[in-house]
């Protein structure tokens, strides 16, 4: 019976060939390390977000009069509602952490270099979409924290001359954060961002498949470390097959991801629920402590310490563009960050500065 089924599928879609070319005979570089699994981990993280998000949609009501109540009901009345909401909230933070870590390691290994500039840009845009997911989802429970964090972030464009006010109104659907904003953010969160994420992930994967996985620059002959000037697929004929070796590494890291998620849900369930995240939104009272999620704390703090609003936002835009188009700024041939002291200093300095701003923004 099984044989007949596989034969039937073989004739129609060529499963054997697909498995052979993409799994068992697909080669990965010999010096591949555990950090190469982070893209796969982020993809699994996204899948968890999709499944738990669909489940939350069954009970969530996107209306200012009902949103807070419906989320509270999910947490206390719906059987296992707390579990799926916790998975969704923890998952959103962990997915962003996985993408960030993925990009940091790609940066450290110089794997964004020619001809992988577009792969890097695709990854940076995926990070941006993941943050947009987090930001748009933040408003949906309609709490004091979510309301005022959204007010602050949607006010940022007002610093831009001429079009700033218009952009802020477009985001909010009016002058203030209201039910119209909730509707817009809900639509954005559940119907615009998911296909956008999938399209970007598809392009990212296509580029990885077309060019081939980049080997780490550590322990390679000099000519292998240089970026190429002409296209040739990097097939790693002498490498290990993806299955079972690298697949096991992927699955190990997925288990680590899930373990961290359930550890946080079990022992730190309020990690992402400060007191203001449990009070319904009050448009007439700004709480004493307003701060966004950890991944937006650094830009938030930067806005706080730069006295000129326009300058603060301009610096953020410049930093974002620098990050997005970094492969075009770094034209140095050497991939190995260990052989590039200036880049190493820049990397460590930037990372420490980001951590300081994050900690400062939190305190």
């Amino acid at each position: 019976m099984w044989e007949r089924l596989t034969n039937w599928l073989e004739v129609r879609i060529g499963v054997d060939d697909l498995v052979r070319s993409q799994v068992t005979e697909y080669r990965v570089p010999k010096n591949i390390n555990i950090f190469y699994t982070l893209g796969f981990v982020a993809a699994v993280g996204y899948l968890i977000q999709v499944v738990t998000g669909i489940l939350l949609l069954v009970y969530y009501v996107p209306h200012p009069d009902h949103a807070f109540r419906s989320v509270q009901d999910i947490m206390v009345k719906v059987p296992f509602g707390w579990l799926f909401r916790q998975m969704h909230v923890m998952g959103s933070n962990l997915m962003i952490a996985a993408i960030l870590l993925h990009m940091l390691t790609v940066f450290a290994m110089g794997n964004y270099k020619r001809p992988r500039e577009l792969t890097w840009i695709g990854g940076a845009l995926l990070l941006f979409v993941a943050i947009a997911f987090g930001f748009s989802g933040y408003l949906l429970p309609w709490t004091q924290l979510s309301y005022w964090a959204t007010t602050v972030v949607t006010s940022i464009p007002t610093a831009v001359p001429v079009v700033g006010d218009f952009v802020a109104r477009l985001l909010r659907g009016g002058d203030q954060v209201t039910g119209a904003t909730l509707s817009r953010f809900f639509a954005f969160h559940v119907s615009i961002l998911p296909p956008l994420f999938l399209i970007l992930a598809g392009v990212h994967l296509f580029l990885i498949k077309r060019i081939g996985i980049s080997a780490t620059p550590f322990g390679l002959p000099a000519e292998e470390k240089r970026p190429w000037t002409e296209y040739h697929k990097k097939s790693h004929a002498d490498g290990y097959p993806y299955y079972p070796r690298f697949f096991q590494m992927d699955m190990l890291m997925v288990m680590v991801y899930l373990a961290v998620m359930f550890l946080l849900i079990t022992f730190l369930p309020n990690l992402f629920f400060p007191p203001d995240a449990t009070i319904p939104a009050n448009p007439l009272k700004t709480p004493a402590t307003i701060r966004p999620e950890w991944y937006l704390l650094a830009p938030y703090q930067l806005l706080k310490i730069i006295p000129n609003k326009f300058l603060g936002i301009l610096i953020q835009i410049v930093l974002f563009l620098l990050f997005l188009f970094w492969p075009f700024f770094d034209t140095e041939k050497e991939k190995n960050i260990m052989n590039r002291p200036m880049l190493r200093v820049l990397f460590i300095f930037g990372f420490i500065l980001w951590l300081i701003l994050m900690y400062w923004g939190r305190s």
Partner: protein, 136 residues
């Protein structure tokens, strides 16, 4: 013009027209309705704002505050901080208006004292008519 070039140009024209005929309605669909310009005035009793005290109100959908300043009289200001839109709170002890989000500080005229706000708070028209205060 060659037949092929003509067909290319026609296709480009039709494609652009089709795209534009979707983009314009989409833009209009997403732009929020224009602001309502005419706002009715708001009347509150003078006794509701004792000397040195303040009263929070909502005027034309905007959170505002009426402050009774010792020696300077009444003033009505928008509570929306000009930095990033949080609502300022009245600090009676220090005679200041404070923004809790990014520590913007304004005096009771709405002028910036410290912090990142780029502009003073918006003043609202206010007049006293007998025992009532009319805002707007």
């Amino acid at each position: 013009m060659k037949r092929r070039s003509f067909l290319k140009a026609a296709l480009a024209f039709l494609g652009a027209t089709t795209a534009a005929s979707f983009v314009y309605p989409l833009f209009r669909f997403l732009v929020p309705p224009p602001r309502q310009k005419k706002v009715n005035s708001l009347v509150i009793a003078k006794r509701d704002v004792p000397l040195g005290d303040a009263k929070e109100i909502v005027f034309g959908g905007i959170p505002a505050i009426v402050v009774n300043r010792p020696g300077k009289g009444l003033i009505a200001l928008s509570r929306v901080c000009t930095h990033l839109g949080c609502l300022v709170q009245y600090d009676q002890e220090n005679k200041r208006l404070l923004c809790p989000c990014h520590a913007g500080v304004y005096d009771l005229e709405g002028n910036i004292v410290s912090g990142p706000p780029p502009k003073p708070l918006t003043k609202l028209p206010l007049k006293v008519e007998g025992e009532t205060i009319v805002i707007g």
